[in-house]
């Protein structure tokens, strides 16, 4: 009972304090708002890069070309060997006839040229498309496939893929670092602004200590105040995420620059990011005020 009474009083005092010291509260709120907007943007970028990397990895395939004179028997043997490789996730076989038909459907010029080709003088090759389990080992696996009998060429987009993987890993690390650094900056700013509010109530705190208020009773209103500031401070960042991201998504039609880079669909993505931003705001506000008030609880 007493606990709830204290809690109720704390919540009342916290709101009173936010509005009574409005200019200071506004300073803290705008501080939180600005940093949280940047945090939110970093989170959006991080998730999109992650998503894009994952999509890219899914699309990565090794294409195995067999020798032109490979018979159906040969392809079956190669297929078995491929299936037994540890890093192979799945594979699809396409005969040269099937490839020819596909190409003819795709392009009129090809259609004209290829219509004259008979089964025997088809210069195309039977292929396997191999998906791998671990993308980092793709080069290794490609090399091993190349050594198999009846295999002429192996392609997996060597240089470009390697560079992309390195670039995305770097981008991810940078964005993680940025999010963490920004959160730390926010905590620091909030500690300082809340310190100002608390400084103006130093006397009140010391009297509370003298008349026998427990540290819990003294601290709770300030911690709730920090949470309230965090909630107010995350309103604009959340709106920015919701409307800004949807607008961006619609403007680019879900793709960035090319069909290769897809953006994450706004729903439910923006709700998740908004949730994260809100939680960061609340926690940061709590930590900020808890550490700001600690100094005054020693005497």
């Amino acid at each position: 009972m007493k606990f709830f009474r204290t809690l109720r009083r704390s919540i009342r005092d916290a709101f009173k304090s936010v509005f009574r010291n409005f200019s200071l509260s506004l300073a803290s709120i705008s501080c939180i708002t600005i940093t949280l907007i940047i945090v939110a943007i970093s989170i959006l970028i991080t998730f999109n890069v992650q998503n894009f990397t994952r999509e890219m990895e899914k699309d990565l395939t090794i294409v195995v070309f067999l020798d032109t004179d490979a018979t159906e028997e040969d392809s079956k043997i190669v297929m078995e060997k491929l299936e037994n490789m540890s890093n192979v996730e799945s594979l699809t076989y396409q005969s040269k006839t099937a490839i020819k038909e596909e190409m003819r459907k795709e392009n009129e010029v090809f259609n004209e040229v290829m219509s004259t080709w008979s089964e025997e003088d088809n210069p195309l090759k039977d292929t396997f498309q191999v998906k791998v389990k671990a993308v980092e080992k793709i080069a290794d696996t490609a090399k091993r496939i190349e050594k198999l009998d009846k295999v002429s060429t192996v392609r997996y987009g060597e240089g470009m893929v390697d560079n992309l993987i390195v670039a995305f890993e770097a981008a991810q690390k940078v964005s993680y670092g940025m999010v963490i650094a920004l959160i730390l900056v926010t905590v620091f700013l909030i500690i300082n602004t809340i310190k100002l509010t608390i400084f103006s109530r130093k006397r009140e705190i010391s009297i509370m200590r003298l008349v026998g208020a427990s540290n819990f009773t003294i601290k709770t209103p300030f911690i709730i105040e920090g949470m309230v500031l965090g909630i107010f401070g995350s309103i604009i960042p959340i709106l920015t995420v919701c409307f800004g991201y949807v607008a961006l998504y619609n403007h680019f039609d879900g793709y960035l620059y090319s069909r290769m880079i897809t953006l994450i669909e706004p729903e439910p993505f923006i709700y998740m990011v908004s949730g994260i931003v809100l939680v960061i705001g609340i926690i940061v506000g709590m930590i900020g005020s808890a550490s700001a008030v600690r100094k005054y609880l020693k005497i």
């Binding site: 007493k2 200590r209 003298l210 008349v211 026998g212 208020a213 427990s214 540290n215 009773t217």
Partner: protein
């Protein structure tokens, strides 16, 4: 049974100044004690150690069964709830009314509204300020402000009331009024009162228990006496 027991206490501040040398004394429940001495004699330090604003450098202090020297920071409130404290500069909250200032104690310790109201009105009646409960501190005289501070200190019915120069800012007539209020509390509630002062007139007139400190040492501890003896 001694309510306060001080054993071999020394207090040295961080800047090297020693304020109390080997202090031993005990104070009985229900007594009214004047702690007297000139400036720098250590009376404020003594009072501060009783409510643990300062910790003794060595020795033991028991207040109502609590070992103050060993009390952890987060448990200090347990001691303070047994004490009422009055200062020379009143320390009222200027934005709260007289009633709210006194109720602040009760709210801080989580009392119900009904209990708060009953005890606050009783305390304000005891100090004779029931008519001014809606005034703000700056609308009161110094003597009245000090009486509000006393009401705030006793509202939780503490066993001990510590007063650090409560009459330091008041003229002789107001000072006497304050001491009379304290004597009334001592008689009607049985509260032990420890008052640090350098006001000779009051001490001589009241003829109460006296602890005389000089340069941090205990010079005299009399059951009944004045300043000059």
């Amino acid at each position: 049974m001694d309510l306060i027991r001080v054993k071999n206490v020394n207090k040295q501040y961080k800047n090297g100044v020693t304020a109390i040398y080997d202090l031993n004394l005990s104070i009985k429940k229900g007594s009214f004690v004047f702690v007297i001495g000139g400036s720098g004699s250590g009376k404020s330090t003594f009072i501060k150690m009783l409510y643990r604003e300062e910790k003794p450098s060595s020795g033991e202090i028991f207040v109502g069964g609590i070992n103050v020297a060993k009390l952890r920071n987060s448990k200090v409130y347990k001691l303070r709830r047994k004490l009422g404290i009055v200062f020379q500069d009143y320390r009222l909250l200027p934005k709260l009314t007289v009633y709210e200032n006194v109720a602040f104690t009760m709210e801080s310790i989580g009392a119900t509204k009904a209990e708060t109201r009953r005890k606050v009105l009783k305390a304000l009646e005891l100090v004779g300020l029931k008519a001014k409960i809606h005034n703000y501190p700056d609308q009161l005289s110094g003597g009245e402000q000090q009486r509000v501070a006393i009401a705030r200190a006793i509202v939780n019915e503490p066993r001990i009331l510590l007063c650090d120069e409560p009459t330091g800012n008041l003229d002789p007539d107001r000072s006497m009024e304050i001491v009379k209020v304290l004597e009334e509390i001592n008689k009607t509630c049985g509260t032990t009162i420890i008052m640090a002062t350098h006001d000779k007139e009051i001490v001589n007139k009241m003829q109460k228990e006296v602890v005389l400190l000089k340069d941090g040492r205990l010079i005299k501890h009399l059951e009944k006496g004045g300043y000059e003896e």
